[in-house]
C-alpha cells in the first residue's frame, strides 16, 4: 500500500510539473511575463510537490500531507484573489485564456483538485503500515524528483533573468 501511495504522490508531482511547464509555454511562446500573483501560485504548486517529495523520500506521513494542504491553502488564496480582481463583467482579464478560462482560474482548480487528491491519499493512509524511510526510489519516483527540481531551478533562473540578482535595472 505504501508503494501505491508513493506512486500516486509521484503522479501528483508529474501533473504539477506539467502545469508548470505549460505556464512556461505561455511565458515563452506568447511572450507573457508572469505577474507577482502568478508567481505566488507557482510557488504554491511547488509547495504541494515538495510535500509529495517528502513522502517519496521519508515514507508517507500525515505531517507531509499537512504541509501539502497548507501549500494548497496559500496558492488557492492567491488564485482566488486574482480571480476576484477580474471577476466583474466588462473588466479585462489578465493574460490569454486557455480553453475559455484564465490561467489563474485553472490554477484555482488545480489547488482544489490537489486538496481532493490529498484527501483521497489520506483515506488510503494506514497508520499501522511500517514506515519505508530512506528506501531507494524506483525509476518513476526518481524521474518525478528530477523533473520538479529542474522546473523549480528553471524558475529561479528565469525570474532572476528578468531582473538579475544585483540591483534591478529593467
Amino acid at each position: 500500500m505504501d508503494a501505491l501511495q508513493k506512486n500516486l504522490n509521484a503522479l501528483i508531482i508529474f501533473i504539477i510539473t506539467g502545469v508548470l511547464i505549460g505556464a512556461y509555454g505561455v511565458q515563452i511562446i506568447e511572450h507573457e511575463q508572469p505577474c507577482p500573483l502568478c508567481m505566488l501560485q507557482r510557488l504554491g504548486m511547488m509547495g504541494v510537490a515538495t510535500s509529495c517529495l517528502l513522502n517519496l523520500q521519508f515514507g508517507v506521513r500525515p505531517s507531509h500531507y499537512a504541509l501539502g494542504l497548507l501549500s494548497c491553502l496559500m496558492g488557492g488564496f492567491v488564485a482566488l484573489r486574482q480571480i476576484s480582481l477580474h471577476v466583474c463583467p466588462g473588466f479585462p482579464t489578465f493574460g490569454l485564456p486557455v480553453l475559455g478560462l484564465s490561467l489563474y482560474t485553472w490554477s484555482f482548480f488545480i489547488f482544489v483538485c490537489s486538496v481532493l487528491a490529498i484527501a483521497f491519499l489520506l483515506f488510503l493512509y494506514n497508520p499501522k503500515q511500517p514506515l519505508e524511510e530512506n528506501k531507494p526510489l524506483n525509476l518513476w519516483c526518481r524521474t518525478a524528483f528530477i523533473a520538479i527540481t529542474l522546473i523549480t531551478a528553471a524558475n529561479i533562473i528565469t525570474t532572476a533573468w528578468q531582473c538579475g540578482w544585483g540591483p534591478c535595472e529593467g
Binding site: P36, L85, Q162, W165
Partner: protein
C-alpha cells in the same frame, strides 16, 4: 499589476528557497527540509499579504 524591482529579487529568492528544500530532501535531511518549506510558505504568505494590502488594497 507589474512586478516591482524588489519583488523580482524576492520572487527569485522564494524559488531558490523551495529548491533548497528539495535539495534537503534529496540529502535526506527531513527536519531541515520541513523547516525550509515552512519558512518558504510563510515568506510567500508575507509576499501575498504585501500584494493584497500595499499594491492593490482589498475593500473589505
Amino acid at each position: 499589476m507589474e512586478l516591482t524591482e524588489e519583488d523580482k529579487h524576492m520572487m527569485a529568492g522564494l524559488f531558490l528557497i523551495f529548491t533548497l528544500a528539495m535539495i534537503s530532501i534529496y540529502a535526506k535531511k527531513r527536519e531541515l527540509a520541513i523547516s525550509i518549506l515552512v519558512l518558504a510558505l510563510l515568506l510567500s504568505l508575507m509576499m501575498f499579504y504585501y500584494h493584497a494590502t500595499d499594491i492593490l488594497e482589498i475593500n473589505w
